[in-house]
Each structure stands twice: as C-alpha cells, then as structure tokens.
C-alpha cells in the first residue's frame, strides 16, 4: 500500500475509467473514492481499488452517512466503511455538511441543514461520534445549497465555522460550491469564500457546474469554470498549497480530459508553492 499521505492533485476513481486507470502514466498524486461504491462489495471494482491503493494514496469521500441527520448511524455500514478505509490506508474520512436520510428513508442527495446553533451543535456531536467510530479524523464539505432552510438565523459561513469548531474537525473546501452558492444567492463569491473557516481546509474540491434556468446546478458535469479557478487561486495565495481534487461525475469524459483539468490545478498549486518559497 502507498504512503497514505494525501498531497498534490488527484481525481475521483470512477467506473468509466476502471479499464484505463492502471495504465495511466500522467502525473496523478492521489485518487479519491466514493466509499459507498465499495463497502460490502467484492469483485472487480474492489480488486481494482486494491491495486490502485498499491500505487496511489487513496482519499475517501462519503455521500450517504448523513453527518447532520437525525437517524442513528448504521453500525454495520460504519464497520464496512472502516474496513474499506483500513484496507486502502485512508487516513482521514471526508463527508458532507448535510443530511441525507430521515427516519430510515434515504434520499441520495446532499440536503442542507438550517443555519442555526441547534443544527450546528447536533451536527458537531455527530461528527465527533463518527470520528470516534471510524477511528479517524473527519473533514466535512461545504455543500451547494439551493435554498436556505427555514429556521436559519446565521449565514452559511458562520454555520460551517460553528460546526467545524465545535467538532474540531477539518473543512473540505469545495470551491465550486462556493461559486454556485454565491451566484444562486446573489452574493459576492469572495465574501462567501472568506466567510468560511478556510484556515481549517485540509482538502479542496474543484468541479464544473451547469446553468438550469436561473440557477447554477452543481452537477460535476463540466470543466472547471474560470470564476472557480479564480477562487482557487485566491485560496492558494492565502493558505498555500492544499491537496486538491478535480471532480467529474456526470457526463464523464475520457481519463485524459479529467487529467488535463488536474494538470491545470497542479500548475496553480505548484506556482503557489514556488511563490511561498521565494517569499
């Protein structure tokens, strides 16, 4: 297994690239998996993941654990998740600052919580529990949200800060989500970015979005947009190099095209590192 430390720029391990990923000779610093695709499963995908883990560090980014939800965590699933994380040498588990199920019904979506202290306390306590049960540090992602929930009395940045500070966990800073949220809610992207606890960012996500009517949709189905690259540069300039993932999950193109985006991110990240060395 590779050294589990995540650095540089990675991409998501997606089914569309299973046939070619092991032949990849281009720069690629780590792979990120959606662990739901592997927990409790076997066969070719798990075998491929193990081979990938021999070559690249693996990051894990869950979508169904529902850190902000009201249901008790599924113990069997967490045991399977811990096994996959251990198998691949994943040091830190990441998920979303959201809920995904209510009363045992799973919605398979990342649903926003009300921005209030009650929700922050509730979610922070569950993140701590999750971290204890997985025996790993956690980082949570700022999600894209299309509506501010009833009961909200804070803005997004204050809410995210309260959660991660109470839980003393990391932030997975999704720069595309910042941009999508800023446009959809009529805010300044940089203001929304710096309202987040970016000093706690341990990973960064970059992705594309599409326009649907008046709304931007965070669908991970396009190249990273120029305004998102601009925000990414701003984060690099303020905080220095942070491990970065390029996500492409809808209308997934050939591996080379995804790696082209990763190359762009790596150039920015490396330029930032050089500037900080000079300074």
């Amino acid at each position: 297994m590779q050294n589990a430390g995540i650095g540089g720029v990675g991409i998501g391990l997606r089914r569309e690239h299973y046939g070619e990923i092991l032949q990849c000779t281009r720069p690629l610093d780590f792979l990120e998996i959606v662990p739901e695709n592997f927990v409790g499963r076997g066969g070719a995908p798990l075998s491929l993941l193990r081979r990938c883990a021999e070559r690249w560090p693996i990051a894990a980014h869950g979508v169904s654990v529902s850190p902000g939800g009201g249901d008790a965590f599924d113990g069997d699933y967490l045991a399977g998740l811990a096994a996959v994380l251990g198998d691949c040498g994943v040091e830190r588990y990441t998920d979303h600052l959201c809920y995904a199920a209510i009363g045992g019904v799973a919605y398979y979506d990342l649903l926003p919580l009300p921005f209030c202290t009650a929700a922050a306390r509730h979610t922070a306590a569950r993140i701590i529990e999750l971290s204890d049960r997985l025996q790993r540090p956690i980082a949570v992602e700022n999600i894209s949200f299309y509506a501010t929930m009833p009961g909200s009395v804070q803005d997004e940045g204050d809410f995210v800060r309260e959660v991660v500070e109470r839980a003393d966990c990391g932030l997975l800073l999704d720069v595309n989500n910042v941009y999508v949220n800023a446009v959809n809610h009529g805010c300044d992207p940089l203001e929304m970015l710096w309202a987040l606890p970016t000093e706690r960012a341990v990973h960064i996500h970059l992705a594309g979005h599409i326009r649907e009517g008046e709304r931007l949709l965070d669908n991970h189905g396009a190249a990273v947009g120029d305004p998102v690259w601009a925000l990414y540069r701003a984060v690099m300039a303020r905080h220095g190099p942070i491990p970065t993932l390029v996500e492409w999950d809808t209308a997934i193109p050939a591996l080379d095209r995804v790696l082209d985006e990763a190359d762009k991110a790596r150039a920015i990240l490396q330029a930032c590192a050089r500037q900080r060395e000079v300074a």
Binding site: E36, V39, G40, R41, G42, G43, A44, P45, L46, S47, S64, V65, G69, G70, D74, Y77, Y99, I102, G103, G104, V105, A106, Y107, Y108, D109, L111, L113, P114, C116, A118, A119, R121, H122, Y146, A147, T148, M149, P150, G151, S152, H185, R215
Partner: protein
C-alpha cells in the same frame, strides 16, 4: 437526544422530500425559507431526479422498452410509483432498486418481459458487486444465479438498448454469473446437462426429468461450466479446501 427544533425540522422536511406535501406546507410549520417557497420546493424535485436516475442506471433496458411502448412518460410514471411504494433505504443507492423487479410484476399493464428484463439486470448487478467471501466456494446465489426466462432476455436486453426489434419469444435457461477467475460478468446458456451439473455441484437431488442423463454428459457439462468461469475448478485450492460432497 436530538434538539426539538431539529426533530421538528426533519419531521416537516420528510413528507416534502417524498413529494407528499408542498414547500408552502413546510413553511407553514417551520416558518419561511429566506430563499422563497419555490427554491425550498426544488429539493423535492432534486430527490425525484436522483431516484429516477438510480432506476434508469440500474435498469437501462427496461427503460428502453418503456420508451418503445409509451415514451419517457411511461418510465417516469413507473419510477415515481415505485419510489412512492418503496422509498430508498441504506447507504448504497443501488439498494433503492432492489425491489423493483418484484414490484413491476405486480403492476397491471406491464408486460411480463419487462419484469424479466428487470430481474436480469438486477441479477447482473448483484452478481457483479457480490462480496468475495461466499458461503460456498462456487458462490451460488451470491455471484452465480440460475434463471429461467420466458423469452431470450439476455438477447432482448441488448436489442432494447440498440433500439432493435425483440425477436421471437424463445424460453431460455441461463446462468448469470461473475467469472470465477476474471470477475467479468457473463451469461451462460444452460442445457439439461449443465443444469444437472450445477445441481450436483450444489448438492441438490436431480429431478426425475434429468435422471436419464449419463454421468459422462454431466461431467462434460461441468467441465464446460468451469471453462466458462461459471464454476470454480474442482482442482482449485479453494475448492480442495472444502469437503467434497457435491460430486
């Protein structure tokens, strides 16, 4: 212990996300969304899209034959009715689709072949993802399934995705399996001797209809099943470690 305001929040959101109440009713319980009623209600639409996408991804040929029959509307209608009857549970999104074949069989006006296509696609999915550690060496009902269909469903599944005519109805008996060595998915058409070989391997008594088959014919069929990766070789280390009770 969940704070009362969080309990109230989840209780109000759940029926909206399931499409049973609208966003205005949520706001009447929780207060207004600062983003407006329509934006709040968009979450019910997002959930509907997600559930629809899961079914479309798991059952592409069922969706294709639906299209041929009544257009996308028919598929959307079926997907929505199924989601109402069987909401998603569990972390694995595919599990939302688990009961679709059985549910489809209970729907009036749905041709039997659609149900068989759904069963075939679901069986392939679970064979592909099955855990590696099976209760028996060959992985019966884990990575290896025997199915009898009233039509040539494996061929029809391909034809549906290509938009081709289904062809004549010919019953088929198949093994749907993940290859014992390569882990690739496969479909093996079984004759009487193949069925007998699988039954013997599983330790099941042969029905009278297969009683006339010679041992040679059954062994020959077993060799073919091993060659195709349906069965594990009796000489493999895995198989030797098991008590040899089948043959």
């Amino acid at each position: 212990m969940i704070a009362p305001e969080m309990t109230a929040f989840f209780a109000a959101m759940a029926p909206m996300l399931a499409g049973r109440i609208d966003a205005a009713q949520v706001e009447s319980r929780l207060g207004p969304s600062p983003s407006g009623t329509a934006a709040l209600g968009f979450y019910a639409e997002l959930v509907r899209r997600n559930l629809h996408k899961i079914l479309s991804d798991v059952f592409p040929s069922v969706r294709a034959v639906c299209h041929g029959d009544g257009g996308e509307g028919r598929w959307v209608q079926l997907a929505a009715a199924y989601a109402d009857a069987h909401p998603g549970t569990g972390a694995d999104p595919n599990l939302f689709a688990a009961r679709f074949p059985q549910w489809l069989a209970t729907q009036t006006g749905v041709p039997a072949v659609w149900t068989e296509l759904a069963d075939y696609e679901w069986t392939r999915l679970i064979a592909f993802h099955a855990p590696d550690a099976a209760s028996d060496v060959d992985g019966f009902d884990v990575r290896l399934f025997v199915r009898q269909y009233s039509s040539d469903i494996p061929r029809l599944a391909v034809a549906a995705l290509r938009g081709e005519a289904p062809g004549a109805e010919v019953p088929v008996l198949v093994a749907v399996f993940r290859h014992a060595r390569t882990a690739h998915l496969g479909t093996f058409r079984l004759g009487a001797a193949g069925l007998a070989a699988l039954a013997r391997r599983r330790g099941l008594p042969l029905p009278a209809s297969l009683g006339a088959l010679s041992d040679d014919a059954i062994l020959q069929a077993q060799d073919a099943l091993v060659e195709a990766g349906v069965l594990v070789s009796a000489q493999s280390p895995d198989h030797r470690s098991e008590p040899c009770t089948h043959d």
